[in-house]
Amino acid sequence: MFPTPIEKRSRGAQVTYQALVPLVLIMWLLPLLAVALFSVRPLADFTNGNYWGMPTSFEFFTNYGKVFLESDMPRYMLNSVLITVPTVIGAVALSCMTGFALGIYRFRGNLLIFFMFIAGNFVPFQILMVPVRDLTVSAGLYDTKLGLVLFHIAFQTGFCTLFMRNFIRALPFELIEAARVEGIAEWRIFWYVVLPLMKPAIAALSVLIFTFIWNDYFWAIVLTQGPDAQPVTAGITSFNSQFVAQYHLMSAGSIVAALPPVAMFFLMQRHFIAGLTLGAVK
């Protein structure tokens, strides 16, 4: 293990290290802790200039209650769910199929198609913006959740295909050969042999795509407009103009908006990190 395990160091080094880690962590998360502190303050604290002292009262329920009851926040959150979940399902379903095709079969153009997916996944959004917006408007899908979902599915298929194909490549190929010798139809091999083995990849991709799409901001402002369809990342800006300079509410709103992917991460940590670091180890 590198660096040298702390257990092998002196007692003093161990104690220092154990004290240092939480200290560094607090510094690392300082901007966030500040927002958390803001979000439980009463308004009076800000008007009196008490930004960083003890809160004069603990207003957790008032502030967060206001976010949920006196703003469009719940609608934006619901929109985010209704955009994110179908995208996850669609992109994962499509890429299970493309990953299977590119990972198992040898045919001319296999690598070319694979590289097309990878390259497309890296392009700047702006090169797609005008045509995609045009397409969405002319399909009558501007300012709808469906319009966003369709685009997200298509774009995420690039990354998902990269992921799935490499995952399938690492599966033992003998399984598929054995199934072919048995005379099993190719689509049955997909359904009964490969798909069950892909469960970890599906779980990892699902949490990753959930986070990516939940956090999308650019396409939300390009393809949607109002509280009918806008997800929470875009909605938070209108929320902030509703409560301008009321830092306690804006902070509480941001925390609420950030919570679902954070919860997803802590609940599905193993899958999340396995997904993010695929390929980081040969």
Binding site: P31, V35, F38, A101, I113, A119, V123, V130, L135, Y217
Partner: protein, 304 residues
Amino acid sequence: MSTAQSDMSWARRNRMILTPLLFLAPGILFFAIYVIIPIGQSFNISLYEWDGLGEATYVGIGNYQELVGDRAFEISLWNNVKWLALYLLAIPAGLFIALFLNQTIVGIRLYKSLFFFPFVLSQVVVGLVFSWFYLPNVGLFDIITGWFGIDVRGGILGNPNTATYGIIAAGLWPQTAYCMILYLTGLNAVDPEQIEAGRLDGAKGWRMLWHVILPQLKPATFIAFVVTIIGALRSFDLISIMTNGGPFGSTRVLSFYMFEKALSEYGFRMGYGSAIAVVLFLIMLVFIGYFLWQMYQDEKAARR
């Protein structure tokens, strides 16, 4: 040969071609409509003057000629260079934190997750959090720098000389967390025998890191490079949230300037916007080409 047999056999004989084709069809269709074709369309639109609604007028390379003399474009391009160069700091910073945390004390798993957790936040939230952090006079950043007698006029984000760096620092926060997790995973897989061998040869500290550990972390470093460079050139959300391009247009980058030109109150110049997007695309293409070439080398090595 009976008819039933030949009937079945066409599909069966060609199943190794048909199956992948059918499995690929929906994915390729979606990807072509929303990604591949629009790239070509943007190239085309960049040759027109178009407000997005009325008739488009063909202007040839007129938009590109206009770009050359456009001061705002120049600033944006220059800011993109700053983003690229400074964003890469996330890689050594991530490695450093990973080395710091690669221990087994009680609760280290939770510490690692908490260090990683800024990456899970949306850039919008990161942007808001940091713009409050940077608030002049009352923001924590201003207070802490004030202890050392540093006072940035107008606050970090209000001052054209510092605003871009302030935004990049905010972007480095989640990006460093990402690089950290890549390296933690990489460090986990480092071969202990090679470390032992290195120790016997008298290597330790930096020399060990440089000659024994880093070569084994190469795959992690490659991914860190890819995601950091792409992330740097994609920067948009933070700028939009934290400064909206200001003060005085000093924090614009190409992605943001394109959006401003094509789709904001500054006018609907789709052609000019597309020309900016094409430039950004070509810059990215250099990196994408390099990444693909690297992956192609790996593929060739892994051919079975």
